[in-house]
Symmetry: C2
Subunit: 430 residues, 2 copies
């Protein structure tokens, strides 16, 4: 295993040399948002690096300002072969292998300028999101929610196994990890109101949804679809995503045009974009499609989902943290290449920076492997227990949800860091 000369990179760090995820930071010395990669508890400030002669020497074909922009969109638009080459060069600069490039390692002044403690940097939303689409590709989630609402024998809608069901989400409320989320006020019907007249008030059923997010590197021309076997070339990288959901609002509003205010009050993503290439070693086959063979435009390679371990922590307002769920992203039945092929089938243009959500990822077992409280509590009927006799059906004001995800062996882990958000009261301003 090739290791790094960067000090104190723990074998359990999400940000090993095998990862090098990209993000947007500000630092005490540079308050304009700009690009960096994460390694261990450090960031390599790519804008600071690009001020040194070394930058043009190792990246002769990169535009000199490429890492000085407030989002990664321009870098993403350069395409996967460029991302791959840049990541490999950065790996060499950060490696302590005998044949690695020593010029950063041996330059104390440049190290001091560009290698900064991650704790000193503030992370920002890594991409400007043109459009956000949320899919429903987690098989066990769709099955469990269907069982809850329609009962046994009718769990999956007839279209579920035939196409990656999805809906257009709200790009304006996609926020970076750490952003506070206000409990939404909404319109809903109280469960004990026989007349069914709606009321307005703070949602009583605020939930999270554990998802993978996929950022597009490049787009397609309007009217021209992306073949499934080419779709991976359009991907920049992946993040963790929490699709906050107000279940009472959703139940009342969603017929016939789908979820709206129940979803658009906030969607949190983790700050570090794990490049598609970093996840290559973790390909697996997804969940078997119960319909058998899919239509031809959806037939791509079989190992097109990733086996990423996912964990969800709930931290109470009192500060007690408990891991309430563990699952893996191999529970997706549709892959991102299939989602992209389907999304563009009719000619819909995707653009650099567009975000695709996988849909909630749940395991097939008990509450401890489910990706949202709706499933864990069977629609709010069974509480989950926390430490100290505390319990939840849905989230309380002051609760924090933290999603973590990683794959790979110690010392070469490819992880996402945290996707974290705290719900604050509808009655208060931030």
């Amino acid at each position: 295993m090739v290791t790094t000369w960067v000090p104190n990179v723990s074998p359990t760090s999400d940000f090993s040399l095998a990862n090098l995820p990209f993000g947007i930071i500000t630092t005490p010395s540079d308050p304009l948002p700009h690009a960096a990669v994460a390694i261990g508890t450090w960031v390599l400030d790519l804008k600071a690096l690009s001020a040194a002669p070394l930058f043009a020497a190792v990246f002769p074909s990169l535009p000199p300002q490429i890492f000085s922009h407030p989002t990664l969109n321009r870098f993403a638009a350069l395409g996967r072969p460029t991302h791959r080459a840049v990541r490999a060069t950065l790996q060499s600069l950060l490696s302590n292998a005998a044949d690695a490039d020593p010029r950063l390692r041996d330059d104390a002044a440049l190290r001091a300028a560009a290698l900064l403690p991650r704790a000193s940097a503030t992370s920002h939303l890594p991409m400007a999101v043109g459009d956000y689409t949320d899919f429903y590709a987690g098989y066990h989630h769709a099955f469990a929610v269907g069982a809850l609402f329609r009962g046994p024998g009718a769990e999956l809608q007839p279209n579920y196994a035939r196409l990656p069901v999805g809906y257009h989400g709200r790009a304006s409320s996609v926020v970076v990890s750490g952003t506070l989320i206000r409990r939404p006020v909404g319109q809903f019907v109280l469960p004990d109101d026989p007349a069914g007249a709606p009321v307005v008030g703070p949602s009583r059923r605020v939930d999270f949804e554990v998802e993978l997010g996929c950022f597009m590197a490049r787009g397609n021309e309007m009217g021209v679809g992306v073949p499934v076997e080419e779709a991976e070339d359009f991907v920049f990288g992946y993040v963790l995503l929490n699709d906050w959901s107000a279940r009472d609002v959703q139940a009342w509003e969603y017929v016939p045009l789908g979820p709206f205010n129940s979803k658009n009050f906030g969607t949190t993503v983790s700050p570090w974009v794990v490049l598609a290439d970093a996840l290559e070693p973790f390909r697996v086959k997804g969940v078997e499609n119960p319909a058998g063979e899919v239509l031809e435009y959806l037939r791509g390679r079989e190992d097109a989902v990733f086996d990423i371990g996912l964990e969800v922590d709930l931290t109470t307002p009192e500060g007690d943290t408990m891991t309430i769920s563990k699952t893996t992203s191999k529970h997706l039945m549709w892959s991102f290449p299939q989602m992209i092929a389907h999304h563009t089938l009719g000619g819909c243009p995707l653009r650099t920076g567009d975000l695709l959500g996988s849909g909630t990822i749940s395991g097939p077992g008990g509450p401890e492997e489910r990706g949202c409280l709706l499933e864990m509590t069977q629609g709010g009927k069974k509480e989950i227990l926390l430490y100290g006799m505390d319990a939840r059906t849905y989230l309380k004001d002051g609760d924090t949800i933290t999603i973590r995800g990683a794959c790979g062996e110690p010392g070469a882990r490819v992880g996402f860091g945290e996707c974290r958000g705290r719900i604050y009261s509808a009655e208060q301003r931030k």
Copy 2:
């Protein structure tokens, strides 16, 4: 009635002195997209105007480059009082009233530089659209579609009269009038297939939807809703909107998360944004809500919709044009202020340039006042007749749909020009 010195402005022109809609153009002498207003068969090139000393004299507080950007977003973001003042100043410069500002009228060189035949300019999408939301506020449309799918007694869903139902649309495929629209390939179930196995192919049920579009001037902070009585201050202006729809794809995909590929292949808007102030004289009360009083956050002034006459022309591939529908936007049951209040109720942030669609606007009568073919043909069961024994259930390749809309008396008409698009074959590239 105050008239203009601009030559040959017909009393029937949509672009009277009482209108002065804003758009984005390129011209033979200036190929960079920039702002203009339309008057009669002319455009007043605002970038050309801003190069003259007169500009700073009449607009001392406007940023000098405000009309040199490729979209109207920055101008929109200045807010309604600014739009109102700028429009009033332009009206004075273009008026032949005795007390009008004569400095443009009397400056032959500036007139030659800034007042150009509209036919010599190319129109572009007027705003950068961050997010696009489509509502369902046309009462007679919702009622008729419900009758078609659910039968008498169950026309309206229980939520319909309680909240402005809407869904997130696709911003990337919002295009300006004139853009060709490829017939989408999609997945759908053939009506005569008893097994109901889906197929993939060019949609056989491509439809249009007549709507009003509303562009946002400014946004709200995430977490902080817009009260209904303040919502009009957030509006920049209005356009005509055609929400192209593939009905066979829609029927198969829309459960349970709403329309997706059936809608995201294209949405056409008219190029000239009619400022909110220009529509002030045409306020009316919308359709009576059958549920009676709405919840408090939706209670705004009653005359909050506009009475804009709408017409739809179908032009066949052979070039025959027939007006197939006439209706008015007073058939909306929810107003844009209500849509904005509802959209932001849970804290969803709107941003400058965001687009809201009203939903299909239909009259209560026969096919000749319906806003889409789904209604006109009762779900494809009754053909509509065109000239020369031609007929349609849904659109054929090569068909052009042109929506027009206007209000006001001859000589002071406030109109939108055209919202036009032609469907080309799924088998061909543009």
